[in-house]
Structures are given as structure tokens and as C-alpha cells.
Amino acid sequence: MKPAPFDYAAARDLDHALALFGEAEGEAKYIAGGQTLGPMLNLRLSQPDRLIDLGRIDALRDARSEGDRVVFGAGVRHAEIEDGLLPDPSGGLMPQAAARLAYRAIRNRGTLGGSLVHADPAAEWPNILLALDATVHLRGLAGAREVRLGDFQLGYLTTDLAPDEIVASISIPVLGPTARWGYHKLCRQPGEFAQSLAVTVVFGPGRVRCVLGCAGPVPLLLKAVSALAGGVSGWRDDVRTEIAAALETDLSAAGIAVDAVDLRAHAATVARSMKDALA
């Protein structure tokens, strides 16, 4: 299980990375932590001609507060978030999620930006950062642009990123002091891929974003469920049946068909994330 041959170059900074991309012959691919691309290379599911390593770009490792947002360099590692070494816009949600993302040895290398670019609807960051209403800042040969995460994730393992573009940073609004969140992941063992993953963020009265992963090709912002959560004050157990109905509304609006078994599991994780956020 060894990769097909490829050439390799380490970029000094973003401009150098883009220049390396521009001059590459054949298919060039960026690599950051390599915790997803690495296995795909070994399995020969990905066979680029050239890898451009973003791992040595210091600017991508930065995280700072900017007004009411925190801006993370895309190369920030899961373990740094887990260990609370960086400013946290999420009131503890991101560190808690990071701690159960894959395994420590993976978290030591895997990056926030890499996870968003891989765009797996079962992964933590695409869902949680969508609930937090994050924005990604991109750099490409044609210049810089920014995209709300909801518009960035286009399909299963597919994003709005052009081949030459790099996620440079991710900006996340800081939750206010009254904000609450709930996060629930259903997976068969710690560190494994989720079978259902729900996160509910209550930004303030009536302002709720509830996101469900694993049900569709992209993380789903559940509008009806969010509206339901925004309309109740505090958690009541009898709201579960309403959640299930609202979830069905959201899934059918998104054109997603799930069977009764998956529906029950998704309803459970959504309800639990909402319960924790509202309780």
C-alpha cells in the first residue's frame, strides 16, 4: 500500500505556494496535515503529479482575535484547539469537539483548513463551523476572496475551492456571553467516523442554528428545527416529537431521503444537541 510517484515542494509562504502551483506540470495538489490525503495517497485513490506542502507556512499557523471574531490560520491543528492554546470563539464547543476528533496522533498533524477542504459531511469541523456561521478566506492565483461556509460546501467531498486556491484562514464570530450550544455525535467508537452528528448553537433569543451531519452530501443547516428551537424557552422532553417532525420537513426540503432507522438516529442526536443547548 504505497503511493504512486509524485514530486514534492514545500512552500515558504502563500505566494510561493501559488507560484509552485502555477508552474506545476500535471495535477498539483496542496497538502497540509496530510491526515486524510496521506491514506488516500497510500491507497492510490489520489495520484497527483506534485504535492505542494503548506505545512511550513508560519502564517497559516496563526490564530488571533479581531474584534468580535477569531481568525484561525487554516493550518491550525486539532490538538492546539483541543489543548486550549488558541483563542476560542465558541464558548468551549470547539475544544470539546476537537478532543473527540479521530485520535491524538492524528490531531497532532491534522488541520482545521484541511478538514474543511476535505468536506466530509460526517466530519466535525464542516458541521460545527457551519453552526458557528464561519467564513473562509481563500487565496488563489486570481486573488483573494471570502465565502460563507454554508456556500463553500457544495457536495459530498466537494467545495467551491478552485484547484489553485488555498484556504488561508477561517473567521468565526465570537459567541456572546448568553450563547449556549449542544453537540452530539453518534459513532460506534471514539475517534471513528460519525453516523450522525448534530450541533445546536443558540446565539441569543430566537437566534438558533442547528446543523446535522451524515444525513446528506453536505452538512445541513436545519431551518425548521432551528426555528423550533428558537421558539421554545428551555427544554421540555415533549418537544422531541416536534423535533422529529421538523427534521422530516428539513430533510424533505433538502431532497434527502433517509430510512426510518436513520431518521430515528438523526432525530435523537438533533434532540440531544438541542437539549444541551436549551437546558
Binding site: 500500500m1 504505497k2 503511493p3 504512486a4 510517484p5 509524485f6 514530486d7 514534492y8 514545500a10 497538502i31 496530510g34 491526515q35 496521506g38 491514506p39 495517497l41 497510500n42 491507497l43 504535492l51 506542502d53 505545512g55 490538538a79 473527540r100 479521530a102 485520535y103 491524538r104 496522533a105 492524528i106 497532532n108 498533524r109 467508537q189 471514539p190 475517534g191
Partner: protein, 166 residues
């Protein structure tokens, strides 16, 4: 064949090598330096047998490229022959039957040492989760968990424990 020159520090020694960019760090250590303690169990980042330290942090050797280790410090189990904490772990693994076939053992030891030194883990349940990225097919983990707990206790109880890690 494409090759790249790299310079790095392996187990305290400076090494220079010419490697194929596609070569994993684990393969380079095994084939290039004959350091065979790093085992390959899945080669896609799941089983943890290839766990090694990159700049002191546990990583997967099978999905880390050797070229990406340029200028970095790499430590494999072979670096820890004299390490006091590793020797406590060795003693505890033997005493509590923390290994059977021995294939996962080097990765387990490196992960266990990091768990003890980083002090991230308090309960037995947390220890299990912290170890969940290292698969053992033989022991059912009971001996491994007992061994790590015993080594941790001995480490924390050692003279001058308050002065910090070794």
C-alpha cells in the same frame, strides 16, 4: 525516479538522505535506517502501530512523508533504551501482561509515554479514549491499561516528581 535530499535528526543523530518524495517516514526509518521498531499495521493511519514522535509529538509514521520531516526531530522506540519513564512502562507492561504478539507494542509504548507526560488523562475511561487510536488484537487492552496506570503512578511517585518531566 524523483528524489529529494533531506536532513533531519533521528533518535538524537543527524542524518542526511536522498528519498523518494512518496516514501513515508516509517518506510524511510525502516528501510533507510534499519530502525524496525516502527511497525506498519495498516498504512492508512488507523491502527497506531507506526506511532513515532515528530518534534516530540506522537504522529502516524505511515502517513507522514519523509520529505516533510526535513529539519525536524524524529524519535522512535529505539531512542528510549535508557529513558526512565519508558523503562517504568516496560516493567509494567511485562508485569501486567500488556503484550502478547508484540506487534502493536512499540506504538503503544510511545503513546503511553505521551499520555503520562502530557497529563491529559485522569480517569480510566479517559485513558481508554486516549488509547483508542492504538489497536491491539491480542490482549483485549486489560493488561495495557493496567500497565499504563501502574507506570503513571510510579512516575508520579518518583523522587523529585514535582520538578517536571524528564
Amino acid at each position: 525516479m524523483i528524489r529529494r535530499e533531506i536532513a533531519l535528526e533521528v533518535n538524537g543523530r543527524s542524518v542526511h538522505a536522498s528519498v523518494e518524495p512518496r516514501q513515508s517516514l516509517a518506510d524511510y526509518l525502516r528501510d533507510g535506517l534499519d530502525l524496525t521498531a516502527t511497525h506498519l499495521g495498516c498504512e492508512h493511519g488507523v491502527c497506531g502501530a507506526c506511532t513515532l514522535l515528530l518534534d516530540g509529538e506522537p504522529v502516524r509514521g505511515c502517513i507522514t512523508l519523509a520529505v516533510a520531516a526535513e529539519g525536524r526531530r524524529v524519535d522512535t522506540l529505539e531512542a528510549f533504551d535508557e529513558d526512565p519513564l519508558m523503562n517504568l512502562l516496560r516493567q509494567a507492561f511485562s508485569e501486567h501482561h500488556g503484550l502478547q504478539c508484540g506487534f502493536c507494542t512499540p506504538g503503544m509504548l510511545l503513546m503511553a509515554r505521551d499520555i503520562i507526560l502530557s497529563d491529559r488523562v485522569a480517569s480510566d475511561a479517559e485513558l481508554r479514549v486516549a488509547l483508542s487510536g492504538n489497536i491491539c488484537r491480542c490482549t483485549g487492552y486489560a493488561g495495557i491499561l493496567r500497565a499504563i496506570s501502574a507506570a503513571r503512578e510510579a512516575w508520579q511517585a518518583r523522587p523529585h516528581a514535582a520538578t517536571g518531566p524528564a
